[in-house]
Symmetry: C3
Subunit: 346 residues, 3 copies
């Protein structure tokens, strides 16, 4: 696909300065852009990098002045770029219909415009809303409900008792609704406790590649609307996750936590079981949350403490070996002082 600079100005509501007939066919970062590429300048700070930039045209923040280049000025270059990107890199909508080499049970219910790719399996009593896409090799188990417009990428597995809302996006390899890790110790044997609560996912949720969301024991594991889950994230059984939560790469939640709305857990953070992480709380990368976190609190550390404290602790901790030496020296000096006092005592 390609687009002219004049069309970019029109599309984004920006102001054209330069050759509107210039044709662009890729969007690229400043350093990597060539003559056919569009790039952008969203801040004064990148101006020094401009002279070496070979981009064919730029979207530039209003107020900055660029000469000798073909430019569209805009109040929000990031948002404008995103609009252009959607034109240059259109999603290829899959053809509606069930591929000859897919297996869809006759008792499954498919809405309008549903597409099922090769080697996908849709079992009995599954319900796929209008416009749902089931990717190659994905498995939709019996009774699963998938809301309208939801896109299931290749090789995703949806176990029984899973419900997905509308407009969700599930990346390749994600596994939703496997039975959680629940065992009873009978004598010396771990014996499985059935986990039949399923998973209930709201609207506009994204689940990253190869992430795993386990079924609840009796009631569903839940994720609220607009929550976004990155790759290789593990969500254990019975977690109750609110809306617009962000769980970054390799985050892991043990069982039965409540993660309230707008929480952000950054990469590799873990949450022990049966905890509450309050609304809007945030954890720095690789935190281990081992007690409740208050709404709005920022935490870090293994186990976690307030972020500010953690910064100071970490700084101080690097002085620990030195502190031990100082402490020993101090002990000797106080010993000496005491000895001296004793000897001087009347």
């Amino acid at each position: 696909m390609s687009i002219t600079l004049a069309r970019i100005a029109e599309l984004t509501g920006g102001r054209l300065a330069g050759d509107g007939a210039r044709v662009l066919d890729r969007a690229r970062p400043l350093e990597e852009a060539g003559p056919g590429d569009l790039s952008f300048v969203a801040s004064e700070k990148v101006l020094p990098r401009l002279p070496g930039c070979a981009a064919g045209a730029l979207i530039v923040l209003n107020g900055l002045e660029i000469t000798g280049r073909d430019v569209v000025y805009h109040e929000n270059p990031h948002a404008a770029m995103a609009q252009v990107v959607e034109v240059l890199y259109p999603e290829v909508a899959p053809e509606p219909g069930v591929h000859d080499l897919a297996v869809v049970h006759p008792d499954a219910r498919l809405g309008e415009g549903v597409s099922v790719a090769p080697f996908a399996v849709v079992e009995a009593d599954a319900v796929l809303g209008d416009g749902v896409h089931i990717g190659a090799g994905a498995v939709v188990s019996r009774g699963v409900r998938v809301g309208a417009g939801t896109i299931i990428h290749p090789r995703v597995v949806l176990y029984p008792r899973v419900t997905l809302g509308k407009g969700c996006l599930v990346y390749a390899g994600a596994v939703i609704g496997a039975e959680g890790f629940g065992f009873a110790l009978v004598g010396e044997q771990h014996v499985k406790v059935p986990q039949v609560g399923g998973v209930e996912i709201g609207d506009d949720v994204e689940i990253g590649a190869n992430s795993c969301i386990d079924a609840g024991t009796l009631a569903p594991t839940r994720l609220g609307d607009n929550t976004k889950v990155d790759d290789l994230v593990m969500i254990g059984h019975n977690n109750q996750i609110g809306r617009s939560v962000l769980l970054c790469g390799q985050v892991g939640l043990a069982g039965s936590n409540t993660i309230e709305d707008f929480v952000i857990l950054t990469g590799q953070t873990g949450v022990s079981g049966h905890l509450r992480v309050g609304k809007g709380a945030m954890a720095a990368a690789k935190s281990a949350i081992m007690r409740d976190v208050a709404p709005g609190e920022k935490v870090a550390g293994v186990p976690h403490m307030p972020l500010d404290l953690w910064r100071r602790v970490w700084k101080a901790s690097q002085r620990l070996p030195e502190m031990r030496r100082e402490m020993k020296a101090l002990l000797r000096r106080v010993d000496d002082l005491e000895r001296l006092m004793d000897s001087e005592a009347p």
Copy 2:
């Protein structure tokens, strides 16, 4: 499915109190149970939550007294619930036979009652015991042996030289027997060292979704009977894991460790290579085990230390910034004292 309360009493050996004809069709936690749902009271502690509970009936711990409700009294409500759950949520046994759209090599040997779902591949010389199920899209490579009654969920990959015992359960997306991460540095190039030892898994083992168990170099990576592995766990080459071990979500084992029977490694714990973790030892979440752990020892921390010590260290560490201030103040005071002593010295 549904069940009457009278049948529940009979099935579990509990004592009926109330309307035996009451019909229940789901098991739910107290807070989420409605009129058609069975819930349970396993401890005095939850009694205060009963007034708001809309459950149709309850399984209640013997000795507690509940009035005005339909109840089955039982000595172990958790175990009784598990029995009822199996009735209400029956596993749908797959039809024996090989699906038309599965590819099973003529030289594979299939026991009685084996089922192979669509898009599964079973290669030459694979041996599937009686009652084995191979899920949709799973791959059983040449020569793999799967013991009777073992269930392989969708999209599992079993590489060559993998042996699974009887009654195992492998969740979707798990990869067993990929070559381990072994390289020799030749000049500046990392060159692959072949890893041909395979994987040997005992009976009654569970492997969680998207977990990876790598093949040993020359001898197998091994997991003993009744060992349970959660989701997204990584078991590197040559690990020797005993029986009834629990490896929780996102645990990672580097190569060549010995993990003895009954060890429990909780979520996100890592074990460096060539270590021994003794029988019944336990690691708190996100531990990094970097030396051997004695049998029965409880550890925590990065790297690990005894659990008790770790708790005290963590507590003390939060006072570190304060300690540094105290230390500096103390230094000044001792300086002053010394100066004073000097000046007073005769």
Copy 3:
């Protein structure tokens, strides 16, 4: 397969001592080797374990003297074993051709000797070089380029805009090119920022089972030649990874890092976004890299510090509870001294 000891001497260029007609059919570690097995002695240190060893024959380091056994002496027993292993455990090369139950788009371009296994999908405009193998159930999306001799294992997903070089190996379940975790906050909603940069992978790269490499935002996420990625690794969008880098199990990289050539990140290490890890730097297991790391630096800790310092800090940290007690005692003694000085002051 099997091999005689004489052939082993010939193949490896070693010196035969003993019965050259002895037939061996497996390679095994010393402790697990039986009469039909080859094992090896690469160092003096393992000599005490020899008396109990039942191996049929041994490859032994030149200079060591072994009597009463059939032996091949060699200057590098590890390398010699690897050569023999390739004979004893030959890779079964897949038959060239497209399986009847694979779906290959007519506009895909397949080189000589390409093999596509059952249930694989190769979309339009994909380009597969000579000798490429696409495993069972793998998905090669539209426009993807795979270099000659690259092996794609079962169930791998290559998203659009992915390029793989020559001679790469991608293990089962890996997902390459899913859109990265990029969102803009619009009001209270997380709104997806398209990630169209794709992934560009060099020659001789290995990607471990179930690992995830996300597409860049505008320019590709890149991995250089000979880089090796273990299982369950997460590489976020826009990372620029050099050549011959080792990323061990469960490593996680947030977005936009530069990881220079020859870096080694050991298991479960995390790297925050927008950082530079210099050439040949190394991180100990479970490190959290949160600032730039200089070339050649060795780091450890959460967050990281120099490895040597970290060792001393960890050691000292175990004395922290004791230090707090010492500190309090010292405070009291200095209080006493000051009181005494006061009382003695004239």
